[in-house]
């Protein structure tokens, strides 16, 4: 019997039907995945289940009984627990305090000892170890996620919703999470897993329900399907995972970094004597867990933060140059923080498309901007890069994440750069747009551009890169060619285990 069943749930937002008569049931003791692109209706459905959104139609059954869930409190009382993609944690509070906050007990005074003891008990039972008295800000992302799961379990949830839980985790942390999920299943809990990473979905799920444009496309058992089939159902068309690689036209060294050091905003040295070389016509993938110096490395190279050491671009020493001087050497940059560094959210799309070239003669008339020419360029890029918008005058904030990223990609690649930095180019972008962006990056490489690709997604690194370097604690811990790369080896290097990684080579060899 279904523990919770959603029947013909409909939710209409102005202009869109987010959920259109969606019916799906969740059983105890199994992982049920909701698969779909951004905007497919997964989040809306979960908001309805958790009492955060009021459905316009349909019913919810809990243990076979029709139940109205009008607030998170009711949902929690029904045994539903939710781990949001963006953690609902207060970083300045300790783990215990965060749990206490979520309990909202009647008592005026809090009993940290009692709560901490129970947290330890639960965490041991499910393999979710974490120090109850640690400040959340001092925990790793993986540990913070455990706190979120603990919060739900503390309230005796029977159904746990995990919204894109692996997006922010390292491969090792993902393994640990999966162990915990299996423990939950063993205790007869129900788990709803939301993701669009097909490999993980295939590994962890029992049942997979695919949503597309607010409708259920189908529900299949994981053992009866494969990743390719799931992807087609999700996107609504055939998807190829392979990015077509052209003939490699390897040229001379375009970027050389020698003994670079840089500090992050807190003054901690995160790049510690890093060396690397990238040649024209190759994609150099930098894999690594977030926070190992990737940000400062790229920012340092393009002149956005202080650094020591030598940076040669096309053989020229650009160590002391300003960002503008560096960009003028044919450098393009798809920054990590799209909304903060890539676009100006409130500005029209057309302005964003010429954000770093507006001063070029192409777009000016004397000291004034020539809006006609800007419009022409914007129209061309919007069409060529398939940016979905009714009007180039709309603000970038009106676009979906994928289309925002396309604005950045269009602007940067249209410059026909000699050297491209692509930092998390597809983070938070759906499969369709991801595929497109990958193709564009590959096209730049085929045209002879040197590409530095920074990503935490191993799939992305492996499918695009010609050469892969793993960054760990501010240095490139290991480098390998595309053909030698695999998840295990990369994962171990990302965790700093160079010796063990070396053994995997030995085994293969």
């Amino acid at each position: 019997m279904n523990f919770i069943e959603l029947k013909e749930i409909t939710k209409i937002y102005p202009g869109t039907v987010a959920c259109d008569k969606v019916s799906v049931g969740f059983r105890r003791g199994e992982v049920h995945t909701l698969l779909g692109e951004n905007g497919a209706g997964k989040s809306t459905l979960m908001n309805v289940l958790y009492g955060l959104a009021k459905p316009d139609g349909g019913t919810i059954f809990v243990n076979g009984k029709e139940t109205e869930i009008d607030s998170p409190k009711t949902a929690i009382a029904c045994g539903v627990g939710m781990v949001h993609q963006h953690f609902m944690l207060i970083p300045t509070l300790t783990v215990v305090e965060n749990v206490i906050l979520s309990l909202d007990e009647k008592k005026a005074f809090i009993d940290k000892k009692r709560v901490a003891a129970r947290i330890l008990e639960i965490s041991q039972k499910y393999g979710l170890l974490v120090d109850p008295y640690a400040k959340v800000s001092s925990l790793t992302v993986g540990q913070q996620q455990r706190v979120e799961i603990l919060k739900a379990l503390y309230k005796n949830c029977d159904l746990l919703v995990l919204d894109e839980p692996t997006a922010v985790l390292t491969p090792q942390e993902i393994r640990e999470l999966f162990v915990a999920i299996r423990n939950l299943i063993a205790e007869d809990k129900a788990v709803i897993f939301i993701s669009h990473k097909l490999n993980e979905v295939m590994e962890i799920s029992k049942v997979i329900t695919i949503l597309h444009l607010g409708k259920v496309v189908g529900s299949v058992n994981a053992c009866d399907t494969n990743a390719r089939e799931l992807a087609s159902m999700m996107v609504g068309k055939e998807v190829s995972f392979e990015v077509a690689r052209g003939e490699q036209k390897l040229g001379g060294t375009m970027l050389e970094v020698k003994d670079m050091h840089a500090k992050d905003s807190k003054g901690v040295e995160t790049v510690r004597g890093l060396n690397m070389q990238v040649r024209a016509g190759e994609i150099y993938g930098i894999a690594g867990v977030d926070g190992n110096g990737q940000s400062e490395l790229i920012r340092g190279i393009v002149g956005l933060c202080k650094k020591t050491g030598t940076v040669l671009i096309g053989g020229e020493d650009m160590s002391k140059s300003t960002p503008r001087q560096i960009l003028d050497k044919g450098v393009a940059h798809i920054p990590e923080d799209r909304q903060g560094m890539g676009v100006v959210m409130k500005m029209p799309i057309r302005n964003n498309l010429v954000l770093d070239t507006f001063y070029d003669e192409k777009f000016t008339k004397g000291v004034f901007l020539d809006w006609k020419k800007v419009d022409g360029q914007a129209g061309y890029l919007i069409e060529h890069y398939g940016i979905k918008t009714p009007d180039a005058g709309n603000p970038v904030s009106s676009l979906s994440g994928g289309n925002q990223q396309k604005v950045v990609v269009a602007r940067e690649l249209d410059k026909q750069p000699r050297l491209l930095f692509a930092v998390h180019p597809t983070r938070g972008v759906d499969i369709g747009a991801t595929q497109f962006i990958h193709e564009q990056i590959m096209a730049a490489r085929d045209a002879g551009c040197a590409v530095v690709l920074v990503s935490t997604e191993l799939d992305e690194i492996i499918s695009l890169s010609d050469r892969i370097g793993v960054i760990y604690e501010g240095v490139i811990l290991g480098e390998m060619d595309r053909k030698d790369a695999n998840y295990e080896r990369l994962g171990l290097l990302m965790a700093g285990k160079r010796d063990e990684a070396a053994q995997t080579v030995g085994k293969e060899g």
């Binding site: 959104a53 609902m88 207060i90 970083p91 305090e97 906050l101 008592k107 005026a108 005074f109 809090i110």
Partner: protein, 289 residues
Amino acid sequence: MADSIISFLAAMIRYSTPLLFVALGVLVMEVSGIVNMGAEGMMIIGCLTGVVVTHHLNNAWLGGLAAMLVAGLFGLLFGALVLEFRINQTVLGVAFNLVGAGLTTTLNRAFFDGMNAGTTYGSFLGFPIPTYIAIGLVILAWVAMYKMKIGVQMRSVGENPVVVESVGISVKKLRYIACAAGGALVGFGGAFLSTGILSQFTENMTDGRGFIALAAVTFGKYTPFGTLGGVLVFGIGETLSYRLQAGGGAFPYEFALMLPYILTVLALCAFSRNAKDPAALGVPYVKSH
């Protein structure tokens, strides 16, 4: 020597008491994520209310209570404008200061000019009783912030109101409570200045203490004992500035008078450079559902 140190400390503690109340009030509001630039205005309103009610009821405690009530209402008004209409908190604070100064000046000239409070708070071991209350409040604030549910909620709402709302706790309710309590504390600080330390109202008598309170809270990294420390740093500077003038004839009075402010700035630089404001401080909150 020992005598002069004791008298120095005694003077510092006595004269820092109003500022301590005000700083605690500011602390309560800031922890919940509301910037109270209007403390100066709320304080002067407390000053006048305290004198007038004390004079008429011949009881300083009732005067203090009335000041808490009136300033608390102003705190609630501040909260309403911030929470319901999302008016920029800094600008609103400036407006409150102008209103506070204008309102008290006008009312004072029209009705209460030269009115004497007539009576004051009792004292114990040489210190007025409110001084003990203020120190008690520091401890109470610490207990409330770290040992009570309301404190966990308040600190959370100042960091990330979305999280608080997600567990079914009303962000507005918490912030209204903080505004009312904060306003009331600031108001009592004013009343204690005008009836506990002095016994009458003079225009602009708060003389920037509402702003110094903001500095003290920042210095204290938004903790009660830290705030107490900030208040004492300023108190040391102030007491010193008069001791130096009275003691050594050659000391230029301009520098002496600058001392408390310089000391406060230096202390902020030295100890609070990396102080992290509550993440949601001053950010208007819009409920998403």
